[in-house]
Each structure stands twice: as C-alpha cells, then as structure tokens.
C-alpha cells in the first residue's frame, strides 16, 4: 500500500515536472541556446533517468539488448546536438516535443541498462558521453559562424564553454566510476 502511494506520488511529480518543462516553460527554455541545450534537454534526460531508477530497477536485460539501447541513447544525444536538429526543435513545437520525449525515453532506458551492463561497456559509454560533450563544446566555441538560426553567436559560444566544463566534470565522474569499479573487482579476487 505504502509502495503504491510512493509510486503514485512519484509519477505525479514526474508528470508535473515534464509538463512544466515541455509546455509551461517551453518558451522560456527556447529563448536562448544555453537554456535549451543545457537545461531543457538534460532536464528531460534526468527525469527519465529517475523514472527508470524508480520503476525499472528489476529489469534485467541481456547484453545485446543493453548495447543496442546504449547505441540508441548515444545516437539520440548526437542527433539533438546537431545544429539542424536544434533549429528544428526551436522553430517547430512538435519537433521540440519529439526531442523531449526522446530525451525522457533515453534517460529512462539508461538507468536499467547501465545498472546491468558489464563494467567495461559502462565505462566506455560514460567516457564517450564525456568526450562527445567536450567535442561539441569545442566545435561551438571555435566556429565564428552562426550554426543555429534560432540563436545568436554569443549564446552559441556560451553553450560551448559550459559543454566543455560539463564534459570535463563528466570525465572525472567516469574516472571515479572506473576506479571504484576496479576496486570492487580487486576485492572479489
């Protein structure tokens, strides 16, 4: 009974937050590139991740399914980092909704997959996300051309700078996971 109530409250909170991010504050998020790329997009990913953490803890996936889903998550991140996709999302509300749903689903799948997948692939995935974030950031700050027509070049560079910092932070997180994992492996030996 208590678990049911917790789940209901959790779902309600997630639904309200999704509604706030996707509809109520959508115009605010779409007004600048940092808000759109660094707040709205990761917010949906994180909401999806926590939903997975709450409801998909017991989901066991075979390795081939895990790898396939990680490829999907990675491709989703790459797709929504493309300047063309960013423009499409800001200009067309339906496309933006597609982005938000895609990010939520990607986050939702990431939790059970990372929990069950072998250590080496987990590290590889986290490392690739960190590198991708840094590479995108470098591309955004090094181009003196406007890449997204919905924003301006200052916002583009600002987004790039934050992405580099976030990527570096994520890289250190990956290192932490790596050494923690190595420590666990040694303690089993």
């Amino acid at each position: 009974m208590r678990q049911k109530l917790t789940n209901t409250i959790f779902i309600l909170i997630i639904v309200v937050l999704c509604w706030l991010i996707s509809f109520a504050f959508n115009d605010w998020f779409c007004a600048t590139m940092p808000r759109h790329q660094l707040l709205q997009l990761p917010a949906m990913l994180i909401l999806g991740f926590f939903t997975g953490w709450q409801f998909l803890k017991k989901l066991k996936l075979e390795m081939h399914w895990g790898i396939s889903l990680l490829i999907f998550v990675m491709a989703s991140l790459i797709f929504w980092m493309l300047p063309h996709s960013i423009d499409a999302a800001v200009i067309d509300n339906r496309f933006n909704l597609l982005m938000l749903i895609n990010m939520f689903v990607a986050g939702l799948l990431t939790f059970p997959v990372l929990r069950n997948i072998i250590f080496e692939i987990r590290i590889l995935f986290l490392g690739m996300v960190a590198v991708m974030s840094i590479a995108t950031g470098i591309a955004l700050i090094s181009f003196n051309l406007l890449l997204c027509s919905a924003f301006n070049i200052e916002q583009q560079k600002e987004t790039g700078a934050v992405l580099i910092k976030a990527g570096i932070a994520f890289f250190f997180f990956t290192l932490y996971v790596f050494f923690r994992g190595i420590g666990k492996h040694r303690s089993y030996e």
């Binding site: 999907f72 797709f79 919905a150």
Partner: protein
C-alpha cells in the same frame, strides 16, 4: 545482430537527416534540399531602387545575387562590404555588360525603396551594374517559398526581430540557372572573383 541492427538504424537516421553527413546546419540543409547546381533560379519579380520592375531571366547575363535586410546588426553589412570589394575587382569590360550584382532585401515589413536607395548610396554613386531590389507584389508566404527554392534559409527570432539567414552568394547564368554558390564566410573576395571570371569567360 541486434546491436548492429540498432547501429544501422541510428546511423541511417542521422545520415538521412544530414544529407549523408554533409549538411549539419539548417543553412546547409536548405541549400542541399534545393538541389545541386546547375538548377533553375526560381521565378520572382523584383523592383529595383530606381523603381524598375524586372525578372532575372530577362537580364540574359550573369548575375551575382545576395540577400540582406537593412536592419541587420552585423552580418549583412559585412557581406555587402565584401561584395563591394568583389565589385571593384571587376573592370568595366565585364560589369555591367556581362555580369551584374543584385542585392535583394527580404525584410518586406521594414525595408522599402527609399531605404534601399539610401543604403545603396553608401557604397558610392558610381556602382553601375549593382542593383538593390525588393520582391515586387509578393506576400511573405510566396517570398518564403521562393527563398526555400533558391536554397536560402531565413528565420526571424520572435523576441528581438533579428533575422538570421544564409549569406550565400548565388551566381545565376544567362539561362537563369544557379551555376555557382559562394559562401563569403569561408571564401575570400579574390577566390570568389576568379571563380566568377572563369564562369563568365567560359
């Protein structure tokens, strides 16, 4: 097999979305969507600063076309300065007899003939063969369709009214076909001029 299948699907979607990993921005995507060169320059009537109504196909000569709007805070003026440089790299044997320059404003709301005439005067009084024009009797929807067909993307940011747009220069041949597209942000004036000269001579 499943991971490979997943990788193939994801790669195919991104491949399709970027025209084979060649168009990552909406500017290059719109240009690619319009088709490869040579292709027809879409039909549209224009009115020049001297109130002459014309279509590009009537000119029967090479025309270098670019798109601007007068309230542009930065890029349009920079591109027009580069076009001014290109214009002066040609002599009178080529301009205006074989080649003309045409700068089209796409701000139908704010730009008018008086404004474009005044703006043209900034580049000097002796710029025979370089016209500034507005679409003639065209509504925004028709003109937007024309731009997409030409391969030019424009988007007006609702919050501040700034129009972000493609800065490509289109070289139209006497048969009204787009034969070359230049990106002034990546190519310098000398390189553009020599390519135009070789097109006109051939």
């Amino acid at each position: 097999m499943i991971p490979i299948f997943s990788l193939l699907i994801c790669t195919s979607v991104i491949w399709k979305w970027t025209y084979g990993f060649s168009a990552f921005t909406i500017f290059s995507y719109t240009l690619k969507s319009a088709g490869s060169t040579p292709r027809d320059f879409p039909e549209m009537k224009f009115i020049s600063q001297d109130e002459k109504i014309f279509e590009l196909k009537e000119k029967k000569k090479y025309v270098l076309v670019n798109f601007v709007y007068l309230n542009c805070p930065y890029v349009c003026h920079k591109v027009n300065n580069q076009i001014e440089e290109i214009y002066h790299l040609f002599d009178s044997t080529m301009v205006p007899s074989q080649l003309e320059f045409l700068t089209i404003s796409f701000d139908l709301k704010n730009d008018d003939l008086v404004k474009i005439k005044r703006y043209r005067e900034r580049f000097g009084t002796d710029i025979n063969g370089w016209s500034f024009a507005l679409p003639y009797q065209s509504d925004q929807k028709t003109f937007n369709r024309f731009l997409i067909q030409a391969g030019i993307w424009k988007y007006q940011i609702p919050a501040n009214g700034v129009i972000n747009h493609s800065v490509y220069l289109l070289l139209i041949n006497p048969k009204n076909k787009i034969v070359k597209i230049f990106d002034p942000a990546r190519e310098n004036s000398q390189a553009i001029t020599s390519q135009i000269k070789s097109c006109v001579k051939n």
